[in-house]
């Protein structure tokens, strides 16, 4: 297929003979989440891509060899953008959006190592300076608080981005759930200057990247590498064979 750019030939392939199946399985695995050519461009710009390029450069050299001193702590890092970004009515000076992140099905038994949301804690929008934070959005019920805040720290990416650890929440509430797995977060901003609150109404920061989710994963599907043990029967045979050969050679 070299020189024939196509990512769609696999699903269309008829039943493959056994010799080709394993090869195709690898390529299929590589291509399983490949997009169509037209799908890439809209996502190629902006802070999310920049973040992942920096992560890549820290973790692998220019030839793709994983660096020995890499610190990501997992073999896979997936950056998810919110699938929905829903504005909520203003509450006083607070501008709020609900962010939905679809985690998808856990198809090949990925183990969650770490989950963080990276968000802008400072937004500059139409001459307004906003202070923002993110919290878990949980439906109101007598047993549930309306929201839960995680622990935040400044991201390495830039001074305007903050990283909040959500590993425990996703691990306990979402990761092993069957069916649709969706993380809902509340992104809240407030003008830094109280006098700007009234003027700020009507401006919408939905057009800028405000948050993305990072999932650090390990693939538990992979077989552990087996030690190459020589069966005792063959070992005995080889010992006899080698002594016979050495005698004859002598």
């Amino acid at each position: 297929e070299v020189g024939q750019p196509s990512t769609t030939f696999l699903p269309e392939s008829p039943t493959l003979p056994p010799a080709e199946t394993s090869t195709m399985r690898l390529v299929e695995k590589l291509l399983e989440e490949a997009p169509g050519k037209e799908q890439r461009k809209p996502h190629l710009e902006g802070p999310p891509l920049q973040y992942m390029l920096e992560l890549y450069q820290r973790s692998a050299d220019s030839d793709g060899h994983p660096r020995e001193n890499r610190t990501i702590g997992a073999r896979m890092v997936r950056l998810l953008m919110p699938s929905a970004n829903i504005a909520r009515p203003l509450r006083g000076s607070w501008y709020t959006r609900i962010l939905n992140f679809l985690l998808g099905r856990n198809r090949v038994a990925y183990q969650l190592v770490k989950a963080t949301v990276v968000y802008r804690h400072q937004l500059h929008l139409a001459h307004f300076n906003l202070s923002c934070y993110v919290e878990l959005w949980v439906p109101k019920s007598p047993n549930n608080p309306s929201s839960v805040r995680g622990s935040s720290k400044l991201s390495l990416m830039s001074q305007t981005w903050t990283e909040m650890d959500l590993t425990q929440h996703i691990q306990q509430k979402l990761w092993n759930r069957k069916g649709r797995r969706m993380l809902r977060l509340r992104f809240m901003c407030q003008p830094q200057n109280d006098s700007e609150v009234a003027e700020f109404h009507g401006h919408d920061p939905s057009s800028v990247h405000i948050a993305f989710l990072l999932l650090h994963l390990n693939d538990t599907h992979k077989n552990a590498q087996k030690a190459e043990l020589l069966p005792s029967v063959l070992e005995e045979f080889m010992e006899g064979e080698s002594s016979l050969l050495s005698r004859k050679t002598r």
Partner: protein
């Protein structure tokens, strides 16, 4: 029969001399993801160096080739018992992993380390 094989292998044959330069070994090879038609979704790296193994496997599989016992036996079978059983083939022995950064169909960005992507050494088996 073993005696005759042993005397045959005690000194290099002409055939072995001729194939010495073409003995099973690792060859460097680089391909771009553009050539593979995958550059629209693999962001980094731009090039892939899988390398490959090529060459003939000697009649006597020395330790440097890391051949398993099975390959040694198969060589003997080919030589002594049944020539329709092929001699071992020159194939990769150790592999390196490779990290790629790619765009997924749903628009997410994935960093992933794939095992077994780069041939690092060769063996006859």
């Amino acid at each position: 029969q073993v005696d005759s094989v042993a005397s045959d292998v005690s000194g290099p044959s002409q055939e072995q001399d001729a194939s010495e330069n073409n003995q099973c070994s690792l060859h460097p090879y680089t391909v771009s993801f553009r050539q593979l038609g995958w550059d629209h979704w693999i962001i980094a790296p731009h090039h892939y160096t899988p390398n490959y193994c090529k060459g003939t496997c000697p009649r006597v599989l020395h330790y440097g080739l890391n051949s398993p016992n099975h390959a040694i036996i198969q060589n003997l079978i080919n030589e002594l018992v049944n020539q329709s059983i092929p001699q071992p083939s020159c194939v990769p022995y150790k592999y390196d992993a490779m990290s790629v950064l790619l765009i997924e169909a749903n628009g997410s960005i994935l960093y992933k380390e794939h095992e077994g992507m780069v041939a690092q050494s060769c063996t006859c088996r």
